[in-house]
């Protein structure tokens, strides 16, 4: 089921076209990655979803119907530029944001106690934000983002500023929130976390969608005719006219080679040729990292797999 959909959304700022006929659809209870180089239009899209600005044209649908003004209570938003009132106390501030999202004081207090305990922030309640470190303030802001239990959580670069320990705590919370039923729209440049967390992605460049789909499928598609083959023992695999060895790795009495097919032949044929060289224990398409795909898409200005 699709929880959120943007259809042919365009937005122009002066002479720059920030979004050009962009469409995305986010399945319910999934983690959706919004990728793209700086200035691609991600923040504009996020602001449009948050109704901070309106699109010039196009449609936005939440749960199949048009996005309404009071749908903002169903959305939680962590902006890239974190912002808290520096002179205000942590607890008061969290309470204030919760009340702006329409939660009663008593209910907000209950939920804040739960989250502050869970993320080990209880001591911070009476501290001013300016007394906190950047990572601590980030945690506070993360809590305020999810406190009203939104259906759709939008996180813009949620991991920057966190040490590895806290980053993994936040990753676990994101997975926890998804399992509890929320849908997460994640904008990030950290491709490792995209592979780790995201079910689907859209890659935006120049306001257009360049690449869209399930992370696994994209990686498989971009694998093209490259394979990773592991043999028993330390051996040398000879090249032939059908494939080329890109890379050989001897380790733990195993040999892993990355090959690239030069002709359009079936995997069985390659396998039978490879079997001559030794005992095969693994044969996989060589999945490119999201990082590679990102760079290749942005450089080639095309979302088609190129080899």
């Amino acid at each position: 089921m699709i929880i959120f959909e943007a259809r042919n959304v365009s937005k122009q700022y002066g002479s720059t076209l920030a979004l050009n006929n962009l469409s995305i659809s986010v399945p319910k209870q999934s983690i959706y990655g919004l990728l793209g180089p700086n200035g691609a239009g991600k923040t504009t899209l996020i602001r449009i979803i948050n109704q901070i600005t309106g699109p010039d044209s196009g449609e936005l649908l939440l749960e199949g119907r048009k996005l309404r003004q009071d749908d903002i209570y169903e959305i939680g938003y962590l902006p890239e530029e974190r912002g808290l009132y520096k002179k205000m106390k942590v607890g008061e501030q969290a309470l204030y944001f919760a009340r702006l999202k329409g939660i009663s004081k008593a209910e907000a207090m209950k939920r804040l106690r739960y989250w502050f305990k869970k993320l080990e922030m209880t001591d911070w309640w009476n501290k001013k934000v300016e007394e906190l470190s950047k990572g601590m303030a980030q945690k506070v802001q993360f809590v305020t983002t999810v406190l009203h239990e939104p259906k759709l959580i939008i996180l813009d670069e949620p991991f920057t500023g966190f040490d590895p320990v806290n980053a993994s705590i936040i990753k676990n919370e994101i997975l926890f929130l998804r399992d509890r039923g929320a849908t997460i729209l994640l904008s990030t440049h950290d491709m490792a976390s995209v592979e780790e967390l995201c079910d689907n992605i859209t890659l935006i460049d120049h306001g257009m969608s360049m690449l869209e789909g399930k992370v696994d499928e994209i990686r498989r598609a971009w694998a093209g005719n490259e394979y990773s083959v592991t043999f028993e023992g330390n051996i040398r695999v000879p090249e032939n006219g059908n494939f080329q060895i890109l890379h050989t790795d001897n380790e733990d009495n195993k040999t892993t080679v990355k090959i690239k097919c030069l002709k359009d032949i079936s995997t069985n044929e390659i396998l039978s040729e490879l079997m001559k060289s030794g005992n095969i224990i693994a044969f996989n398409p060589a999945l490119p990292s999201m990082n590679d795909i990102f760079i290749r898409v942005v450089k080639s200005k095309s979302g088609m797999p190129v080899n």
Binding site: Y13, N50, I52, I72, Y73, R82, G83, L84, Y85, L100
Partner: protein, 457 residues
């Protein structure tokens, strides 16, 4: 959740965080204390001066023209030394216990400067006035005597007259009201000053608040929960309440302190004199008390009737109209300026960048205050008329004019123009604000702001 309850959450935050600030608490308490000191200390000093008994020797070089011509006044005794020459006492009057010597030369009848007061210290101005008045009267009397008119004393009694112009305002239907220009001036001064204070000081605070939210990037989180216009209005209203709270506390505290000091230190009779030194403006409410300034020098029964007159006049002010206009001009004027301030705050990245936009805003406010001050001298001038019609200055200038009486059509026109201008400006400011708060690092200029005004949605 309803729009209003969200604005009220914002108002609550703006109000509480500001009212709890140390600087607010200090200013709120300190200002009335200083004000009270400013009022009480001079009167205490005056009292202390008065307790010193002065003896002044009156010397005439034996002509005996002005024997007992100068009556004693409080704390000052005039001792007539008929047989003493000036030279004899000139250098030793202090040892003899005199504050000074008043030397009256016989030529005084023709030469006004032929009187000298010799003393070690600078004599108080009131003492000099008393001497001059007494001598003038005595010389007049002696000159009249030289005409040898019969029953002169009786004639003089009959002739003595006192005039006090009673100002009566009459409206078209012929209703007559006693008024006092003094009361009108005090009222005009207070209302226009409060207006200026609230509009300017708290309008500027709105701007600072907007800049704070923009630079700390809180604004993006908030406007994902509320509309920018709600945030802007919440801030503007919250600050208006802070301003009104502060003003109210100032008035109450000032009165409390003055009343306490008055009852503790100053005996009843002297308070009327002390009041003289009060700058009329501040001690607002009690217009009647401040107005005694004009009456202190007159005699007792006159003072009482004067008091009643002022009291009547204060009652006769068109209070309903004044209060209505004050509320109307305060709301529209404050909203107009505060929203423009908010727009400026949203357009810049930090406070130093506000310079280029500040002058066009502060100019009309300051101009308004100047015109309001001169309006009190001449409420009918065409300058007063135009500045009370033109929005931007009308809230301040019109409030200064109303106590003197303004034709209803002028008020209606001024209010109408104000309403139109305020709606246009709040609308434009909201548009600039909405775009400006999310713009970073762009050099904001008038041209850029004009572009923001034309953005859609």
């Amino acid at each position: 959740m309803k729009v209003m309850s969200k604005i009220s959450v914002i108002i609550e935050r703006e109000y509480i965080t500001r009212v709890r600030k140390k600087s607010f608490i200090i200013m709120t308490i300190l200002a009335p204390v200083l004000l009270a000191l400013f009022i009480v200390v001079p009167s205490l000093i005056m009292m202390n001066q008065d307790t010193e008994m002065k003896k002044i020797a009156v010397v005439e070089d034996g002509t005996d023209l002005f024997k007992n011509a100068i009556p004693n006044i409080k704390n000052t005794e005039f001792v007539y030394l008929g047989n003493v020459k000036l030279e004899e006492i000139k250098n030793n009057f202090e040892q003899a216990g005199y504050y000074g010597i008043l030397y009256i030369s016989p030529e005084v009848i023709h030469v006004p400067e032929a009187v000298q007061l010799i003393s070690r210290k600078q004599p108080p101005i009131l003492l000099l006035e008393h001497i001059e008045n007494s001598l003038e009267k005595e010389i007049e009397r002696q000159k009249l005597l030289s005409y040898k008119i019969e029953n002169l004393d009786e004639i003089m009694k009959n002739v003595r007259t006192r005039v006090s112009v009673q100002t009566i305002k009459i409206d078209e239907s012929g209703n007559v009201k006693e008024t006092s220009t003094g009361v009108a001036m005090v009222l005009a001064y207070i209302t226009s000053f409060v207006m200026y204070f609230l509009v300017f000081v708290f309008g500027a605070q709105v701007m600072r608040g907007v800049i704070e939210e923009k630079t700390s990037r809180v604004v993006e989180v908030i406007i994902s929960s509320v509309k920018p216009i709600q945030l802007m209005m919440g801030k503007i209203i919250g600050l208006a309440l802070v301003g009104l709270t502060q003003f109210l506390i100032w008035i109450i505290l000032t009165f409390a302190i003055i009343t306490a000091v008055k009852s503790a230190l100053i005996p009843e009779q002297k308070i009327t004199e002390a009041v003289q030194s009060i700058p009329q403006d501040i001690m607002s409410q009690n217009a009647a008390a401040a107005m005694q300034t004009t009456t202190v020098t007159t005699t007792e029964p006159v003072q009482a009737s004067e008091f009643i007159k002022i009291f009547n006049s204060a009652l006769n002010q068109p209070w309903g109209l004044i209060i209505f206009c004050f509320i109307y001009y305060f709301i529209t004027g404050y909203l107009l300026y505060a929203s423009v301030f908010a727009a400026v705050g949203s357009a810049v990245d930090n406070e130093t960048d506000t310079q280029q936009f500040m002058l066009p805003i502060t100019l009309p406010v300051i101009l308004g205050l100047f015109v309001a001050m001169s309006t009190m001298q001449n409420p009918e001038s065409s300058m007063a008329f135009w500045f009370s019609i033109i929005p931007f200055t009308s809230p301040i200038v019109m409030m200064a004019r109303i106590p003197f009486g303004v034709p209803l059509w002028e008020i209606a026109l001024s209010m109408f123009l104000m309403a139109v201008t305020f709606i246009i400006f709040v609308w434009m400011s909201a548009k600039i604000y909405r775009t400006g708060i999310l713009m970073y690092g762009k050099k904001s200029s008038w041209k850029e702001i004009w572009k923001w005004l034309t953005y859609k949605g």
